[in-house]
Amino acid sequence: MKTERISQNLAITLILMIVMSACQKDFLEKPQGSDTTVDSIFSTSLKAQSAIALAYSQSLAVGITLSGWDGNRDYGLCGGTLANISGEVNDLKYNWGDSWKIQHSGMTADDGSGKPLSDDGFNFNFKSIRQNNLVIENIDKVVDMSAVEKEQVKAEMKTLIAYRYEEMFKRYGGVPLVKKSLNTKDSIKIPRASLEQTLDFILTLCDEAALVLPDTYPEKWKGRVTKGVALAIKAEALMYAARPLFNSATPYMDLGANNNLICFGNADPARWQKALDANTAVLDWTHANNYRIITTGSPLDDYGTAVATPGNVEVLLAYKSQSAFGGYYDQRSEGGGSNGMSFYQMSQYLKADGTEQTWPTEITPYADYATRIQEMEPRYKASAGAAGIDAWNNPNDTEWNSTAMSNRSTWEGRGGTEACGRRVKFWYHAGTRDWFEFPLYRVAEFYLNLAEAYNELGQPAMTQTNLNVIRNRAGLPNITESNQANLRKMIQREWAVEFYEENHQYFDVKHWKLADIGNGIIGGPKLSFIFTYINGNFGLVATDYISYITQTVYTGFWKSNQYLTPFPQQEINKGYLIQNPGY
């Protein structure tokens, strides 16, 4: 009886188990094999194009604030542009934005919530580099692409990697060199390479790419990197290598045994020669390939076109994301409209006749302002909208008249948003267009690079020649100054004017180690025009204004550690990186 029962139970158990296993196939389904894998992306050139498009979109985004609000700071600065922290634009409003915080309190490796507060999304650099490497490693799998095309794609990706490294180079100094897409199996805790190694890595990539890249693309593919871009990245990297922040025997702050991460360890004029050669090579290439300074004799329009019109002949490479920009570059939105040009930036501009403008420090009638502002040189007028005056770079456009500009910067009421100029630079004759292509390399840059290099190498004549190319286009008279120190100041001023809001000033003033960096440029008293209005109104039109004055509006933050960008504390904690000094 007992054994019988046991065997019955066993039998039942067995049956149940059989039922169970039989049902398993039906019950436990799996998704059909329709997943997109790396092999399906790199099967045809059409699909691979998507991976390439993303590589461009990610790699070139550095330093450009696209997102409306990048709360995780994935892409870098959140709630402001680099111009807001470089001294070009006063960061008065939006005290919850990163740029406000950096202007008032500096960058930190850990803002209290574990994220860095800095000018860069460190992690995103490597996300984009991984994308580039994945394309390089997989493009050979594509069946309908010629070997030549594949080599060209690889060269493009190398150029993008070099661009990204060049951007990190000027921000951080030496950084980890990631040369392939990493897996957990690899040794992934790659330490920072020295400044020298990082530079060499960038130069090698550029040299390799320049051998393969074409000089031009079919119309359909315009916007991809040419040989000229590879040369330009190299030229820019060598400029930063030659400038005093890195090209020095001692670093800006001591990092002990690791000083070679942030400094070359010697001040070598030969670095200027290399920079000069590289920039000459770029200009040689541009001359051969029909890129040029736009000079039609109408300086405001020429400059306006060069900096703002997509696809113009002065731009070697632009960021061609044509989605609506987050507004931080756009005066027509509160993000870009609530903060305006700083007085520091204002004072870099000359009058159209090439002489200095002066601005009152006492309360002065608005009529005086209206007169003086109209005297300014064309590049000011192409870059700024003045108080009570319709934007010069969008004449007769109701979208850009004084009333419209005032009404659109209404955040927290409308007072004080004019500053020393509303932000209109990238919108030359834009009308209602809500996107622009951020210029990454413009021919003008290489003339100024050459001027700077020639000056540092003690060749005033060549310095003047190159500098005057830029001044002449702006309608300014030639300069004849030959004192090196004076010329240096003039070159620096020319940079500030010519490349307002183009992500140069932020790095220039640091790498030049300007004496006033903490006293009015980035840190120290920040000045602006302050206006008064009739009956407590705001300035919609000129007649609303009573007076103006130049005065301090806030105090900017500067400390020597701000010369370079902090690495995220989270990454430092992982033990493979050495933090820049002072963080």
């Binding site: 188990m17 169970m20 005290n95 990493l182």
Partner: protein
């Protein structure tokens, strides 16, 4: 244990069976309102027998097998071995029996299906046609006597339903509703037994007396009670696992819409955190014995309703009136049978079923109203202006000077006027107009408590339930119909027909049937439905899914919080003002925008969601006593269908711009008010979920002398279909479970449990997991040697150890699939344009392709190893009861991110099963129940403690221990150690360097401790502060007092060692974004030099426009509040009218009236507006709250 047998799959046949069952079920439902009571079975049942030369016993057995008749006899009275021949075709049973006993001295009596065979010395000689004769004889010759009496408990309460039997016979009766009984017994009856579940059986030797007043003693609490455990029930006294349960009565005491809230405080070891008090969105998140896993999506216990996996959303929609009890399984022994799903504990809800007897009709109704438990206290305009001026002055930032209020403005706020007398005087208006203006309340300079204006009122709530239960011999039924409705608390919701108030309405029905088809075949069928409709405003798409709590609660609160108390005038003269006429408002630059919070609310889109949930299940039990006694098989099929549809609507309402007439400012002009067209989107969300469940179980239960054995082997399979599932692949689960228990003499208990199951979420080849558990118990007080005394009446120890799994491991499903790529990407970074446009048009856009998910081919479930030891001791005749449990759990294989991978890899590597967490704790339950005179009372108090500890989560090597999460509890808050304030310039200058906010520190700022002593305040100084959001201790205490029909029952709950952060946005930051509101606790608690001089301790730093993301906003222990509290959670006062004459004439058996209050009073240190039961989720710590509600309710319960 892996099987790879190639068998023809029976899935299809399962389905067929299932559809047949659905049809059957339908018919059962149609006939649902009828109670079956089959009479005359003995006449109707026709039998055929053809037996030759067999024993009497054989014949009886044959009859039993063919029919439902059961024979009762005493062996010595019936000659069972007598051989006879019997040939019968289609005859009723009495003809067979007549033939069978012809010539013997046995007589029989048929009582429906029961046939009693005995000897009748007096009658045996004469009777040939026994049954009728016996009665006739009895009537003629009374050989019986009538007994009567009453049964009560030791407190004197009558016990209805007590079984009273003459020992050794089947003669007996059952006591009535008053505990009274009357029945006839043979004159020779010697011993009476009284038995009732939960009471000690009493035997009384009869003498001559015929009236008995008997008082039954309670057994050890729970003895004889059955407890619902996984896939079955067990006797409470012999349970070796850790199981707690709560009955219908307690659940009904809480006037709340959902079960998860009704469970609060009723079960030891169950923690509930509520996310909001909004109707339809107020369910609590339930945890059992705390949390043992890192992954936040996998902490919920498994929900089982009537044996089938369900969900919290369905559980919460069940009407409490339908519930028999809720069982909570806590340790491995109790949960192992659920295998890969059991690790977080299991909540089993069992619904009511019918019992044989005449139909019982229950009607209950209650109605009440709700209001907020606690309100944020906002600062009025006058104080706000002063506070803001103070902030700007302290901040010393010239760019803020535009926000300073002038003295005139402050005067206006203080006096609720738009113009100062001087201003009025200078106006070019008539004296009458001037007088009007001087007396007129402000339009621009008003002061509003928008929180009070929005939430300050009360809202109605009501509930009705009607249920009928009863049954005959073969069919028992329970049918219930319920309705619940609750309205939201927004005032002014009706303006312009906006109708945006939240609401929740629900209809419930449930029908449960048990049908004894034959003696050994029983079918239980259940059909239930919940039809809920709820509505509420939608959030803003900028804040994620507009239907989710975060964005919705933000939309409710953000307008209150992000504007000053004068931001807009709201509704004036029945007109909703939503702005001032084009910049006429003098406060425009100071955030007096004219739009008001009520307008924001009224203009929001609104979503009405209809949630229909239908559930059907059929369970067939076949007892296999003919194979082996005690063996049965059960098959269960269940089907659940949830249909959710929602309607999106925008209801335009008239809004006005307002201004003072420039020519006569005393006149207020309104503009606008036109109303556009309403828009309705039907099926805004529309999806169906369904779930099928199949189960086949073999049960074995038998006693051999003192040995009692039970066994269970079960296979089950479940499939859920949900369009929201990844790849739209249904989620399947298949597995088996088994259990064996052994008990010797109810002294030594042992149990082995195991679960074996798997799902498609894990890689093929390692889909299935095996989860065993063992437990044992020793009832010491049942030992013969245990001294019998009134002091210790019950003593039991039990222990268990086992493994359970958790397959809610977080992340997507199918993590094991190879790495995938996706198209698109983030925002503007997701693609690029190529081409040569000059800006006239856009170039073609090329969508990007990116590496999306990197696969982990080894992904597996979480594993919990749990141990539990329990003691149960009862003292003083069970008046004092004690249950203590200590437990420990080690969870490993927790899916967690690799935290040490450098970001230079550039990809998020897949999560891996690396995390380890332990969880330890104890539970103590103490009960006392007694009576003083006629007042019966009881107190039950529980304490539960659970503390977890992160053992491993792949953290980088931090320089200091306290920076790790490893080694601390989950969610342990970390922050700087606040150590007072800097009171003077000197103090502020002479301090450690602060890495926060560029070293900007001044008097009135918080002083932090430089924990690591490196002279710098930075993230290295963040130490564990407070606890986590989930409290470690929870207590509850139930008090019951009964006197005659009166009953008062009170529930106190409380927690300790929990923390609530107020570190973000609006709660912490007055004037957020230069415009936000300020709260009273900030203003009155703030640092001022005066307070510093007087030595008053501030609770808030100096006034500043930027408390957030500054030195002061950095998370520190000032921003972490203790959520410890004690709350009078519930009190119910009721009166029951017993069977009095009047009621009886009205046909009412019982009538009970009661009033209840929920969340009545709270003792807590938490700031106003925050509820200690509130969870830090859905933006609560940002101030985005729909606060908890207090409910007052009155009800009546009628039993017919």
């Amino acid at each position: 244990m892996k099987l790879k047998l190639k068998e023809r799959d029976i899935f299809q046949c399962f389905l067929k069976v299932f559809f047949v069952m659905r049809i059957t079920l339908f018919f059962i439902l149609v006939s649902s309102m009828f109670a079956f009571s089959i009479n005359g079975y003995s006449q109707n049942a026709k039998l055929s027998l053809n037996l030759r030369n067999v024993s009497v016993s054989h014949v009886l057995k044959a009859i039993e097998e063919q029919s439902e008749f059961i024979f009762f006899y005493q062996d010595q009275q019936v000659d069972l071995n007598r051989n006879i021949n019997i040939i019968i075709v289609d005859k009723p049973v009495n003809e067979i029996l007549d033939q069978l006993f012809e010539g013997s001295d046995n007589v029989y009596k048929i009582n429906d299906r029961q046939i009693i065979i005995g000897k009748s010395q007096e009658l045996s000689k004469t009777i040939t046609q026994p049954v009728e004769r016996i009665f006739q004889e009895e009537v003629q010759q009374p050989k019986t006597k009538t007994l009567n009496g009453k049964v009560t408990d030791t407190k004197g309460e009558s016990i209805p339903g007590t079984t009273i039997l003459i020992k050794g016979t089947t003669i007996g009766t059952i006591s009535d509703i008053d505990g009274k009984f009357t029945f006839n017994v043979p004159l020779d009856a010697k011993t009476l037994t009284f038995s009732f579940v939960g009471m000690k059986t009493l035997e009384i030797q009869m003498g001559e007396e015929t009236t008995f007043t008997v008082s039954l003693e309670e057994m050890t609490i729970g003895i004889g009670e059955l407890v619902v455990v996984g896939y079955g029930t067990q006797k409470k006294e012999t349970v070796t696992g850790s199981v707690a349960s709560v009955g219908n009565k307690e659940l009904l005491q809480s006037p709340v819409s959902n079960i998860s809230n009704a469970l609060v405080g009723r079960i030891v070891g169950l923690t509930a955190l509520q996310s909001s008090g909004e109707p339809g969105d107020d369910a609590a998140t339930i945890m059992i014995r705390g949390v043992s896993t890192l992954n936040s999506s996998g902490q919920s216990p498994l929900v089982i309703i009537d044996g089938v996996e369900s969900s919290f959303s369905i559980l919460n929609a069940v009407d409490a009136n339908e519930i028999e009890n809720v069982s909570v399984l806590k340790d491995a022994s109790a949960t192992a049978v659920y295998g890969v799903r059991g690790a977080n504990g299991v909540i089993i809800l069992t619904t009511k079923r019918g019992k044989s007897g005449s139909p019982k009709i229950n009607f209950s109704s209650n109605f009440g109203f709700t209001e907020l438990t606690s309100k944020l206290k906002m600062l009025g305009s006058y104080e706000y202006a002063k506070y803001k001026n103070e902030a700007i002055r302290y901040d010393n930032d010239p760019s803020l000077n535009d926000y300073l209020f002038t003295d005139d403005e402050i005067w206006k706020f203080q006096n609720n006027r738009d113009y100062t007398p001087t201003e009025v005087e200078s106006m070019n208006i008539t004296p009458a107009q001037k007088a009007t203006l001087l007396a007129q309340p402000a339009l621009y300079y008003g002061s509003h408590d928008y929180f009070e204006e929005q939430y300050g009122g009360t809202a109605p709530q009501q509930q009705y339930n009607l249920n009928i239960s009863g049954g005959g011999d073969r069919v028992r039924y329970f049918t219930s119909l319920g309705y619940f409705s609750q309205a939201g608390l927004f005032n002014d919701s009706g303006y312009g027909g906006a109708d945006i108030n939240s609401f929740y309405k629900r209809y419930n029905f449930r029908s449960n049937y048990d049908i004894d088809v034959t003696k050994n075949l029983k079918i239980s069928a259940g059909l239930s439905g919940q039809f809920a409709t709820n509505g509420g405003i939608l959030g803003s798409s900028a804040d994620g899914d507009i239907t989710q709590s975060y964005s919705r609660h933000k939309a409710m609160m953000v307008a209150i919080l992000d504007g000053p108390p004068y931001v807009g005038p709201g509704i004036i003269d029945g007109k909703l003002v939503n702005g001032y006429v084009s910049f006429t408002n003098p406060l425009e630059a100071k955030a007096g925008w004219g739009s008001s919070p009520v307008g924001n609310l009224l203009l929001r889109p609104y979503l009405t969601t209809i949630n229909t949930n239908l559930n059907a299940n059929i369970k067939v039990t076949h007892t296999l006593d003919y194979l082996t006694k005690g063996l049965s098989v059960t098959g269960t099929v269940s089907y659940n269908d949830t249909y959710i549809k929602s309607v999106y609507r925008t209801q335009p309402i008239p809004t006005y711009s307002v201004t003072r007439n420039p020519d006569n400012p005393s006149e207020i002009l309104f503009y606008g008010g036109s109303v556009g067209a309403a828009s309705i989107t039907d099926n805004y969300k529309n999806y169906k979920r369904r779930q099928e469940y199949y189960e086949l179980a073999t049960n074995y239960k038998r006693e051999f002398g003192k040995h009692a054995v039970t066994g269970l082997v079960l296979v089950n399979a479940q499939k859920k279909y949900d369009p929201s599932y990844l790849y739209n692949v249904p989620s399947g689960l298949i597995g088996m479970a088994s259990r064996a228990t052994y008990s010797f003499d109810e002294r030594y208990l042992a149990e082995v449990d195991m679960g074996y199951n798997g799902s498609e979420n894990f890689p093929e080849g390692s889909r299935f997991g095996f989860f065993p558990a063992f437990s044992a118990g020793w009832i010491i007080s049942n030992e013969p040697l245990f001294p019998k005394s009134d002091i210790v009446s019950w003593l039991k120890v039990r222990g268990s150890y086992g493994e359970v799994g958790n397959d809610q491991i977080g992340g997507n499903r199918f993590l094991y699939l190879p790495s995938t790529w996706g198209y698109g990407g983030d925002y503007a970074y997701g693609g690029y344009s190529f081409g040569n446009t000059n800006g006239g048009s856009k170039d073609p856009f090329y969508s990007g392709a990116y590496e999306s998910t990197v696969g982990n081919p080894f992904v597996t479930w979480e594993r919990a190893k749990k141990a539990n030891i329990g003691f149960e001791i009862n003292f003083f005749k069970n008046r004092l009861t004690f249950v203590g449990d200590i437990f420990q759990e080690k969870r490993d294989n927790i899916l967690w991110s690799l935290g040490t991978v450098p970001s230079i890899v550039g990809a998020s590597l897949p999560k891996a099963n690396i995390g380890k967490v332990t969880n330890k704790g104890y539970e103590i339950q103490l009960g006392w129940n007694d009576r003083i005179g006629k007042v019966a009372y009881s107190i039950k108090s529980n304490v539960a403690y659970a503390k977890n500890n992160i053992e491993y989560m792949d953290e980088p090597a931090y320089p200091y221990d306290w920076m790790n999460e490893t080694g601390f509890s989950l969610g342990q808050f970390k922050g700087l150690d606040a150590n007072g304030f800097y009171n003077t310039n000197e103090e502020a200058l002479n301090r450690p360097y602060s890495n926060i906010d560029g070293n900007h520190v001044q008097p009135g700022d918080i002083r932090y401790t430089d924990i690591n002593g490196d002279g710098v305040i930075d993230s290295k100084d963040k130490v564990p502060i407070g606890y986590s959001n989930m409290p470690r201790y929870s207590f509850n205490s139930t008090l019951n007092i009964g006197y005659k029909g009166f009953n008062v029952s009170a529930l106190f709950i409380g927690t300790a060692q929990g923390s609530f952060p107020i570190a973000s946005l609006y709660l912490l930051n007055p004037f957020y974004m230069n415009a936000g509101t300020a709260e009273q606790f900030q203003y009155y608690g703030r640092w001022t030099p005066e307070k510093a001089a007087q030595g008053i301790d501030p609770t808030f730093p100096r006034a500043s426009m930027r408390t957030y993301s500054s030195q002061n906003g950095t998370f520190n222990d000032l921003w972490l509040k203790s959520s410890d509290f004690i709350r009078l959670k519930n009190i119910e006062v009721s009166y029951t009218f017993k069977n009095t004459g009047l009621l009886k004439r009205a046909g009412i058996n019982a009538l009970r009236i009661y009033c209840t209050g929920n969340n009545l009073y709270t003792w807590t240190n938490l700031m106003d507006g925050l509820d200690p039961e509130q969870q830090n989720s859905g933006g609560a710590s940002d101030g985005y709250l729909y606060p908890m509600v207090r409910t007052y309710s009155f009800g009546v319960n009628i039993q017919l």
